[in-house]
Point group: C2
Chain length 497, copies 2
């Protein structure tokens, strides 16, 4: 059975090894189908280059800049002081006696610890998450959505948003062949979606965002994608990322309403990835939650359309990726399915408690009048203003480059510019068995130390090429980076013309 890849090589000590049980030929084929470009070969090469630099090897650059991933703290963003004070207090409650900690941080830590078994973050929580945290999440959602009610029973704390999205997709997948579950995802997409669908053996249904109209979502395109897909699978879910990743657009209220109407008409379960809900920069743009719009559309929709919305501690102004905090809210989910969901989550016991604590702070930050309020607002504003400035700068500089065309970065943390790659470069890439934009990004990495992710890792209209670049580096570094990208693009274009 497993013989095909078990080459019988003689090992150093003269023993002929047995053929391995687990080989590339005998492993789970769905895992093999998984791809995840954000941490793919280009990042592996970037890590290698960093090591080579540190070993004193000469390179045409002094440092590798990883603009491939939305990892704010790694790019120098500072954590929110209040959050970290509370986490320290929760980790080592002796500090509750330390007079240098502000009282609101102490009372928040005390409240979190009271909700933990044995008053310790070292206890398992309920699988759905700590009760009081879920209540705070519910209150946050009610405030955010102007009073639309939220039931803490519909809140599930997760290990980052990725875990919630993966879990929801897992529930949705069934059937075989032409009845296999199909899930609609935007192209370009965040590759967690394609990876999860590959692992689950579900059918990925692509709908294309309209780059000409600032990556907007056209209902006619949804309809086209769905109608075609019905021939070969059973479409059951529609995923939206808003604000967009990698494309940075912010959906209008009208668009969201249209999407909800479409989901209702076509009987699709809606999954709204709203992890960038605080990351909106462009004038005239505003974040509208699917939950709120759904509610405003009246009972015909708000009582029927099934929706799961995802949030995270990793993005927005906090950028606390390492803690793996997140939540999902489900609406109109069948009660029996909810019970199954809770059961499924219980096998993993619970999401990390420090991440739950952090999520609690995000949804329940210092309030006016509390000692930490002013500093919290100052820190949050500084981070969000800097991001807004960097979003604008990125768009501006990239659009000065002939052969690069960049939509406004309305929100999220990325630009996803269109790049023109000369025919000669495309040919050379193909000869090397590489996607042209991978070829382009690899060359950029080797020559400039800048690590970007090729558009092919997110999906793009055939024959078009892009890269994703985070706007996270500090502004002075970002400026240098953008100039380097510009110079590289000009040189590359010249070289292959």
């Amino acid at each position: 059975l497993a013989a095909s890849s078990g080459q019988q090589k003689m090992s150093e000590n003269g023993v002929v090894p047995r053929a391995k049980v687990l080989t590339i030929d005998t492993m789970n084929p769905t895992v093999k189908n998984v791809e995840y470009a954000v941490r793919g070969p280009i990042v592996a090469r970037a890590v290698e280059l960093e090591r080579e630099l540190s070993e004193g090897m000469k390179k045409p650059f002094a440092e590798v800049i990883k603009a491939n991933i939305g990892d704010a703290h790694a790019m120098g963003q500072q954590p929110i002081t209040f959050f970290r004070q509370v986490l320290a207090l929760c980790s080592y409650p002796e500090l509750l006696n330390d007079s240098t900690f502000p009282e609101d941080a102490k009372s928040r830590a005390y409240r979190i610890l009271q909700s933990c078994g044995g008053n310790s973050m070292g206890s398992y929580s309920a699988s759905q998450g700590i009760d009081s945290v879920r209540q705070d999440v519910a209150h946050y959602i009610e405030r955010r959505d102007g009073g639309v009610p939220c039931d803490p029973d519909n809140i599930y704390l997760t290990t980052g948003a990725s875990d919630g999205i993966m879990t929801m997709l897992k529930l949705l997948v069934c059937g075989e062949g032409a009845t296999r579950t199909g899930v609609m995802i935007s192209i370009p997409q965040y590759p967690l979606y394609s990876a999860a669908l590959a692992e689950l053996g579900a059918v990925q249904i692509n709908y294309y965002l309209n780059e000409e109209k600032c990556w907007s979502l056209d209902i006619s395109e949804l309809q086209r994608a769905l109608d075609e897909a019905r021939h070969y699978c059973s479409p059951r879910a529609l995923c939206i990322i808003n604000p967009g990743n990698p494309t940075g657009q912010v959906q209008s209220r009208q668009c969201i309403e249209d999407v909800i109407r479409f989901a209702a008409k076509e009987r699709l379960f809606l999954m709204a990835d709203e992890v960038y809900q605080d990351n909106v920069y462009a004038e005239g743009c505003q974040f509208h939650s699917f939950k709120k719009v759904l509610f405003e559309m009246g009972p015909e929709y708000s009582n029927t359309v099934e929706l799961a919305s995802f949030h995270s501690t990793s993005k927005c102004y906090m950028g606390e990726c390492g803690f793996r905090g997140g939540y999902m809210e489900v609406m109109n989910m069948d009660d029996e399915v909810k019970a199954q969901l809770t059961k499924l989550l219980s096998v993993r016991l619970c999401p990390p408690v420090p991440g739950q604590a952090l999520m609690d702070l995000v949804v329940n930050p210092p309030q006016p009048g509390e000692p930490s309020y002013d500093n919290f607002i100052k820190e949050r504003t500084a981070t969000l203003s800097a991001l807004a400035e960097k979003a604008k700068l990125t768009e501006q500089v990239l659009n000065t480059v002939q052969g690069i065309s960049c939509n406004p970065v309305q929100g999220a943390m990325y630009s996803f510019p269109h790049i023109t790659i000369p025919e000669k470069a495309i040919k050379e890439a193909m000869e090397q068995g590489q996607q042209p934009d991978m070829f382009y990004c690899m060359k950029m990495l080797e020559e400039t130390g800048i690590c970007l992710v090729p558009g092919s890792g997110f999906g793009q209209k055939e024959g078009t090429y892009h890269f994703r670049m985070t706007i996270l580096p500090p502004i002075d570094k970002l400026q240098i980076l953008l100039i380097k990208v510009k110079e590289f693009h000009q040189k590359f274009t010249q070289q292959y013309s």
Copy 2:
């Protein structure tokens, strides 16, 4: 398609809801097959009872005691001071200037932060885990195993051990029908295994531990189970839990050697769940790692047998379940499969960084001469001695009860006594559609407030009944609990005789 469970009930506001997309009939069938008794209906009822008590409802007991889960801190066990100091320092590095923290805690925190992007636990780590932590894990394993070499490249940090086990099983599963992957697990087992196999649609192959011989593992039983299974599936892996959960036995060196020989002969991938490696209490018992024994068996085995071993921050003397820290070490894993494993892990980005930091402290605790050493040893010894005492007490008291028979709790954190349930009770349980030991445990919960897990949740020889009880409550509480169990059993037996 989804109509079967979409009952067209009129909602309050007069709108006829659409049939739901996602119902119990249309959801992923493998998820429905998942069962996880440790957090099953009995725990749900315990939580309900706690709420009822807090609302002032009268019960025949004053408090619910959850002896269902290995959740040490929830049972009052104190965290190790040094670990929590370092975690506080990592969370809020301002504290590095605080003179009340010991220098070794500071230098440890500094080292961890140096390994984090932007010196922040809020950054993503490498998907395989922080490099320096994996190096520390490798050194720990080398010390533990008397110098057997360990390559940090073989270490993968995980979100608790559960995540590692789930991921390894995911890699192993393939085929359909009679070639579907079969995985051998002990009965009784920790239900993560059966749950994971159900979710993955793999075939569960049961081998029975020998209760008469202190839950020992007989190779002849492994052979019987395997030979039978070869008729209907493709057995590829063998899971061992040592020290045992729920059964508390500690495997002899000879037994481990025999298991390895068996795995080699039958071409099985070995999975060794060694999360209780520090929890060995019985005289004459000692923990032997599969890795060490494998190495000592010489190159014929050490260069060929594929092994994954799992460890966690949740058990042993630290009991830090909430942080979801863990690692796995793989040996003789095919290089291409390792690359696939890393890719698969990258989709989830990284394990929680605070859990990684904690894992680092567990494998690299204070050393002789460092300021925190004495206190660390004192705390660790106190916890492990108390556990040893409670293990003995549990066995002794339970064995004084007629109709309860309990093997020595040689290790881990649980007793799994055999209980005699009268015929009349069995009949009544069956009439209620309940497993007899579930019926027994539910009655015990309602009458005494003690929450145990019925043996049927772990698997047991047909016609035998058990429960799993943790030995974690503080000794005075455990004493009361054991007396209550005794009295309940006597009353129950009388009632149904």
